[in-house]
């Protein structure tokens, strides 16, 4: 096994090279571009063999990805922010047509104002599309989750797109030591791609993506809900299998000092790393603080979260996306999961448009009783 200094984007490009998909239709957008730039170089150098399709937009990228995936080609793509917004219509269709596409999402704030830095508003825009969304904490996890993704996407009980979400710049552009698995291990791990009804099988013609009237639409949506629910145990199962090769434990969520914690911080993505450092500080002072990192945002591990917070008094939920006029998305999710448990909830929106959240900011958050926006000028909760 080799340890290399890689950005998250480069790490994902390496995972793609090792998976060696057949087709990659993609359109560049910051901060995703380094992923596909790195992968395109692997293709140009003959180290990966994908048909790289330079489409004219993200709407076309996902459309081409659906066609390729259903024709029998293992298909991957990548996007960010406005690219995902333009693609959104087709993301819903990819899920509905049960196309097991793997997509890297370099999380970036949605316009406006136009911004290129990290928050999770792009992920939340397609929250209800039926695609699986796995959030990485760092470059290593972005790599590991990308290696896991085809196994989850292509499982016959699932057959859904999987998005590997990595925080724009914080993960996509920051170099860290990353341990790559040997090429042959990844090749064996992901196996061969099979599709049950290849759309180009002229001997067995079929209609795909049919119109559904009120007598069938609801049944299709119900089947889709069952498919994403089936992915929840599979994320843990595939993670455990990969751990046998990598020695790194991943899962639908990660708990950190929750056993006797009074106060538990729940977060997504790279912020979870900052939170864990702060938990260490509090623990050194004898304060019973813990953390939960949600890896699988969709499907959401509600039961595992309830179990993790069984002893907690308070949960502090950090949302890097807002829902103006309503509860921010992670807070809404955690509230639903913990309803009736008596755990006191406090939600904070933070870090919109790439605003940093430093360790001292998290310490302030843990000591305040005030919910709401943090790290924004003009609010009483200072960081």
């Amino acid at each position: 096994m080799t340890l290399e200094l890689l950005t998250g984007g480069e790490a994902v490009a390496h995972a793609m090279r090792q998976i060696d998909p057949d087709v990659v239709p993609v359109y560049p957008i910051t901060p995703q571009t380094p992923i596909i730039q790195g992968f395109a170089k692997f293709v140009a150098d003959g180290r990966a063999h994908a048909e790289l399709v330079n489409v004219e937009s993200e709407h076309s990228a996902m459309s081409a990805a659906i066609g390729a995936a259903l024709a029998g080609a293992r298909t991957m793509t990548a996007t960010s922010s406005q690219g995902l917004a333009l693609m959104a219509e087709v993301v819903y269709i990819a899920a509905s047509m049960r196309a097991p596409i793997v997509m890297a999402l370099g999380n970036r704030a949605l316009s406006g104002p136009i911004n290129i830095h990290c928050d999770h508003s792009d992920s939340m825009l397609i929250r209800d599309s039926g695609v699986i969304q796995l959030f990485a904490e760092n470059a290593q996890e972005a790599y590991d989750l990308t290696v896991m993704a085809p196994r989850i996407a292509e499982h016959p009980d699932v057959l859904l797109p999987v998005l590997v979400c990595l925080d724009g710049f914080t993960i996509t552009h920051s170099s860290e030591p990353v341990e790559l698995l040997p090429d042959e291990v990844v090749k064996r791990f992901v196996g061969e791609y099979h599709v049950s009804h290849p759309v180009l099988d002229a001997a067995h013609p079929s209609t795909q993506g049919p119109f559904a009237m009120p007598d069938y639409y609801y049944e299709f949506r119900r089947a889709q809900a069952a498919a994403i629910e089936a992915a929840l145990p599979l994320v843990d199962g595939v993670a455990a299998e990969l751990a046998a090769d990598s020695g790194r434990a991943l899962g639908v969520l990660e708990t950190y000092f929750v056993e006797d914690a009074e106060q538990v911080v729940v977060s997504l993505g790279s912020t979870a790393g900052t939170v864990k450092d702060v938990v260490d500080e509090f623990r050194r002072n004898g304060d019973r603080v813990g953390a939960v990192k949600i890896c699988s945002y969709r499907p959401f591990p509600a039961v595992a979260l309830r179990e993790a917070l069984a002893e907690a008094v308070k949960a502090v939920v950090l949302d890097r996306a807002d829902s103006p006029g309503g509860a921010p998305p992670l807070l809404a999710e955690v509230s639903a999961a913990l309803y009736g448990t008596g755990v006191e909830l406090r939600g904070h929106v933070y870090g919109l448009g790439g605003r940093d959240l430093h360790p001292p900011d998290v310490s302030v958050l843990l000591e305040t009783a005030q919910p709401g926006y943090v790290g924004v000028r003009g609010e009483p909760c200072p960081v």
Partner: protein, 92 residues
């Protein structure tokens, strides 16, 4: 799919077998115009069969054999595609 199927039995993604595509009788939506053919002008080029967006052109082997009105929506594409003007749309 004939009888209504519970969600557990639907094929993933709603893949439809060609034998099932005849089930919706799309001809019931017809616009009020239906195609009629003057066989004396028909050169059997089968452009009508090729262009028909449903399955309303009936063949006998490779020979034009008339219309399947259960699947003709009256879209007039066959009449437009016919190079000899053999197909005419007539009010029902």
């Amino acid at each position: 799919m004939g009888a209504l199927t519970p969600w557990q039995e639907l094929p993933p993604g709603g893949v439809v077998d060609p034998t099932e595509a005849e089930q919706p009788r799309t001809g019931s939506w017809r616009t009020g115009l239906r195609p009629e053919v003057d066989l004396a002008s028909c050169v059997n080029c089968l452009l009508c069969w090729l262009y028909c967006p449903d399955s309303a052109i009936v063949l006998d082997g490779t020979a034009f054999a008339g219309f399947d009105h259960d699947h003709c929506k009256g879209c007039e594409i066959c009449a437009q595609a016919c190079p000899t003007g053999a197909i005419e749309m007539v009010p029902e």
